[in-house]
Symmetry: C2
Subunit: 712 residues, 2 copies
């Protein structure tokens, strides 16, 4: 399939199969809009019923079109699409947009029809966009190949390019953002059911397109999600921010998964991990696209997350502070020398703390604005600056804007403005800010949110730089692979922990006993107290089966416990094949954690971390990353959960051995990659994190092999 | 102080002390704007330097003004405000707006000046608005008594009234909401440092004002927060929604508080409890005011939280679903008969699930929209309906709007529209929806958010109805009051639990032993295993002092443990006064919870609930309510924490005795009220919640008395 999409966005000729003479219908609109927006290439409507459509010569079939069009639009009924697509293949058409609905979104017969299209496209190497989509706009080059109300309007070309799996919503975003939001778009494509050229193909193209600066995506799901990290990192390297909707998060199919790790994740956790790992910014509403787009157009990035706020409205300053802190920025103390400078002109009833409340008084002498800005941007504790002008308007507004533009020109720190005057009453001021690419917002919350997005992205770039020097651990174990080869049943604790050991993850001291005597011998060698657990591939939930006894203190206790757990196991499941009884050291003073691997069919192996028990299972307080996970990423995983203070030493506990925990996560990541063809899920639950310097120990583990059943 | 604010908003005469002839200065603007907006009453500028200001006769002093003005505006320097306020008192002026800055916001001398103003106002019974504020607008009656850019504009009068502690931000909200947002305001007042007439006084007035339908507030803090519940409930009774900003939430002063309960709360937790208990809707941005305001103007409330979505854009439908579910609504399955009706005209490639994707095809015959709407609103599983029209525009838009208006008229369920066409391309359609009071939004997220707000409010009304028949428990204990009277030191476990017992909260079986023999006797009577704990008012953190031993199994163990904990206590604090050693039963199989009381200087007594230990302290997973707490409210408290599944029986645990827990909370609420003059904080930590039917038991408790120190 072709993915060099230059010819798709700039086709020299376009055929329109199923073009209608009624230009208001869906099959009439593409030709109408191509013409009305001044498309420069050649147009070939195809429809055996007409001689011409909209004054353009019409052909009875694609075969008779006198050249190979770079792009063909298919507007025929669902039942005829496969035939037409074959004709495109025979003709050698590189790109096709299938607008028609009635495929997989319909279920049943539609799914089969769609599979047929996929096969035809693959056979002929056609780049298919759609089906069930609304087309494409290349605003910069006047190619309006689609239908819908939004095609009626003319658009100023910009530097934002978007790809959307939803036609209606995607074009609403384009229309509202560029018209009402003042953020002009360059290119837009909707991919519908996305059987051919994918969202990631388009993002990849936009990264290479020299005139695209900001990329926007709307996805419901990606068939090629495994490429997300690679494409996201390419965008980071190109310094083109990717703003992304991921919708449909409420009912992600967590049904099939049976292990803790898979239950806790679901697709959304992996999407979010990929977004975070590759600096893709999630957006929640149309306004975010506009606000973040304006932020990125300033062309500056803060060196850190420290914000200084200059305000004439105390209230707006507090609102912005709340919003920015909630989104990970800091509003730190200013350097003492900054206070000294400000004190000379800020009224005594103002505030020299951050936010700096300069009060409306300084607008009596607008030159003070320049001095204030200078003092703030010179502050070594400040990475970016926001100025809040309330509803200032008219002549005064223009004067203030002049000072802001001059002040912002003297620094490379981002300067953002919250200015609540309506457009109608401060047009000159806003035009000056726009010309100087100084982002401005009507609401302190929106302004704060946009700054936080810029700051988050700058941090993603810094993180990428830091981590680019870090190598991910790779480990290989032929022993482990041999142990797991061909296995279809769950791997029980003893063997699962032997696998962990192969990859250097510490496990409890233990021995598998096949008789009471072996158990007694093992216990004496390990040292009391011990735990014992029946090992059976048929009993995954040992506690539920009462096949576990903890804190056994003596030979006598062990002897009776041994009989008891075996009897319980048999009572629980008479037919259970019993491998033996695991005798295990008891771990004290450890914090219970849980580690996991989920080997997703789309994303590949991912690693999970959380605190054990209720934290993970009830509160879902866990972190995910796609493998490989380097040490610094593992540390992020540990530090980002809400329960982290438990490890850091909350409630008078000694700090736990976070270094060893980080180490275990990187080793688990290496395991996940080495065994990705063998395992579908792995739980280490619990992993005891001992006090600092004393390491970690896996006390139980379960491996679910990658059988045919789970591979689907 | 006067709080019947009719005369404030409709003054027959206004004096302006410190009026300037330069009408562009702050002290010149109020007179200018009163005149330019057509104020109908009499105006008396007061300034000894002028004969007239802006063609209005000027008086040398307030004494010489020929009548008692209903309202006086004070615009003189801070140092002169007190004198002028005394003159207002002498004249008998009922209401005064002090615009001047330089008071408590400045600290130091400003604080003292402000205290003086407060005293003068009280002495003369003057209703003071301000100081440090931006004035008032009564748009409906053309009284524009303030300064700032926003006073330049004319406003259409509406039914929204606002009170704001921030001038700049408050007027920005008014200006943007009414001008750009199409939500016209009726009255607006800014209260600045709020030494006199308070935010709640104004809200109370707006509740009584027959022409105000929606109330908006912006607060940083309330001096009379204890009235919040009462005022909020009055607004609920009047069915006037209150939309409220509470800002400054990131650094609430949690420093002084030393107990867990107070640490976990801070003022914000109590504000939020009060908002929830009285149906006050929190807003986060200006757009919320516009969006929620439009929602409430529809004049309908849903009977439940079940939403049906009709869409022509699958993507927008998913976005709305995500947003609504995240905000507590449900998007349920439709009744089978609804599917049958829809099937007759929705294309096969559409979706009959909820969201119902009717596809653009039904717009070919707009009468189908009426049928669709009718089928959906008739569905017994549906309480409100949203329709998503993507970017439909022009003639078709008008036809669709006609159908929507007709369809909405046939039901009393709320019908909301998400319609992304720009205003310019669907003016007729939007005008029809506005005329029919059908709320419409450009973004599915904003539309969903507004519906969820309406739904939340409707639930608050239903909750109020349910709870109005419920009586709060009241209990009194002369014994407890006597125990606590005059006490200044923390009350230790043994006595704190005796207080709990007085109010019917079950505590562990225990005895205070003053010798080893007493301890042994107590242990035998309670039954081993037992715990022992040294009791000393000087040792609050018994565990830290190693003055606790758990799980003591025999006389021998007890004897040596007794000596050990006493020795540890003395080593920890040599001078500690030791009351004895508490011998206590060990509780097994209970879920550790924490209950608390915080007796806030502003709010009065409030009750807290959380799961014990790390849940409460690290994750802050707790719920607060102001006392009194009825049984159904206590149950809400229990069910709303994230860790609730632990009590409900997560991870194979037996369900805990939630009924007994609810009971304990209502008893604690009764205690908090009965002892509100005696205690400042109380912790029950842990409270063990035993399996269902077996009750709860307080295993430790601490009471911090209401001493002079904590009362400030």
């Amino acid at each position: 399939m072709r993915t060099d999409l230059e010819r798709f966005f700039n086709p020299r000729a376009i055929a329109i199969i199923g073009a209608s003479q009624d230009l208001n219908t869906i099959s009439g609109q593409p030709l109408k809009f191509l013409k009305s927006h001044g498309y420069q290439g050649r147009l070939y409507p195809v429809n055996p019923r007409y001689q011409e459509v909209a004054d353009v010569k019409c052909y009875p079939s694609l075969a008779e079109v006198p050249e190979v069009p770079d792009l063909t639009l298919i507007l025929v009924n669902a039942s005829r699409v496969a035939d037409v697509l074959r004709q495109c293949g025979a003709k050698g058409v590189p790109y096709v947009i299938i607008f028609t609905s009635g495929f997989s979104e319909m279920g049943g017969e539609g799914v089969k029809l769609q599979q047929e299209l996929t096969a035809i496209a693959r056979e002929h190497g056609i780049g298919v966009i759609g089906p069930n989509c609304q087309g494409m706009m290349n605003i910069a080059d006047q190619v309006f190949a689609g239908f819908g109300s939004v095609f009626n309007a003319d658009y100023e070309p910009g530097t934002v390019s978007m790809v959307s799996q939803s036609g209606g919503f995607g074009f609403s975003v384009l229309n509202l953002s560029s018209k009402d939001g003042g953020l002009p778009f360059r290119q837009m494509v909707t991919t519908g059911n996305e059987i051919g050229v994918s969202t990631l193909d388009f993002i990849d193209y936009y990264i290479r397109d020299p005139k695209t600066e900001i990329i926007v995506g709307y996805i419901e799901g990606l068939r090629d999600a495994g490429r997300l990290l690679e494409v996201g990192n390419k965008a980071l390297a190109a310094r083109k921010p990717v703003l992304m909707w991921k919708v449909g998060n409420t009912e992600q199919g967590q049904l099939a998964a049976r292990s803790h790790t898979a239950n806790l994740g679901g697709a959304m956790a992996l999407y979010q991990a990929a977004f975070r790992q590759s600096g893709i910014l999630q957006v929640e509403d149309i306004q975010d696209v506009v606000d973040y787009g304006r932020a990125f157009r300033c062309g500056r990035l803060p060196r850190g997350n420290r914000l200084a706020i200059i305000t004439i409205s105390g209230g707006a300053g507090i609102l912005m502070t709340d919003e920015c802190i909630a989104r990970g920025m800091r509003v730190p103390k200013l350097a003492p020398e900054t206070g000294d400078k400000l004190r000379s002109f800020v009224p005594a009833y103002g505030s020299l703390l951050n936010p700096v409340d300069v009060t409306a008084a300084i607008f009596n002498n607008t030159e003070l604005i320049g001095l204030t800005l200078q003092a703030i941007v010179d502050d070594p504790n400040v990475d970016c600056v926001a100025m809040i002008n309330a509803s200032l308007q008219g002549e005064l507004a223009a004067k203030v804007a002049t000072q802001i533009v001059a002040g912002a020109a003297r620094t490379d720190k981002p300067v953002f403005i919250c200015w609540s005057a309506r457009d109608a009453v401060a047009p000159e001021a806003y035009a000056m800010l726009d010309a100087a690419r100084i982002p401005h917002y009507k609401s302190p919350v929106r302004c704060g949110r946009a700054m936080a997005a810029l700051s988050w992205y700058a941090e993603a770039l810094r993180r990428r730089d830091r981590q680019s020097t870090e190598k991910a651990l790779t480990l290989g174990s032929a022993t482990a692979r041999k142990m797991l080869k061909g296995i279809t049943a769950d791997v029980t604790e003893y063997n699962a922990k032997r696998v962990l050991s192969e990859y250097g993850i510490p496990v409890t001291r233990e021995a598998l006993a096949r008789s009471k005597d072996e158990a007694l011998e093992a216990a004496r060698s390990i040292g009391y107290p011990v735990a014992i657990k029946v090992q059976s591939p048929d009993i995954s939930h040992k506690t539920e089966a009462r096949a576990v006894r903890l804190n056994i203190a003596s030979d006598g206790e062990l002897a009776s416990a041994y009989d008891e757990v075996l009897a319980n196991a048999r009572a629980y499941k008479e037919s259970a094949q019993i491998e033996g009884v695991l005798v295990q050291e008891m771990i004290k003073n450890g914090v219970e954690a849980i580690l996991g691997v989920t080997n997703d069919p789309l994303f590949g192996p991912a690693v999970m971390f959380g605190l054990g028990g209720i934290f993970a299972e009830v509160l879902k307080d866990v972190s995910f990353r796609l493998a490989p996970v380097t040490a610094s990423v593992a540390r992020e995983m540990v530090e980002e959960i809400a329960g982290y203070p438990v490890l850091a030493g909350a409630r008078g506990r000694p700090p736990a051995d976070v270094d060893a925990l980080v180490d275990a996560i990187t080793h688990l990541s290496a395991l996940a990659i080495d065994l990705k063809d063998y395992i579908s899920e792995l739980d280490v639950n619990p992993l005891f994190v001992l006090p600092a310097g004393r390491g970690v120990k896996a006390a139980d583990a379960l491996i679910r092999p990658k059988t045919a059943e789970t591979r689907k």
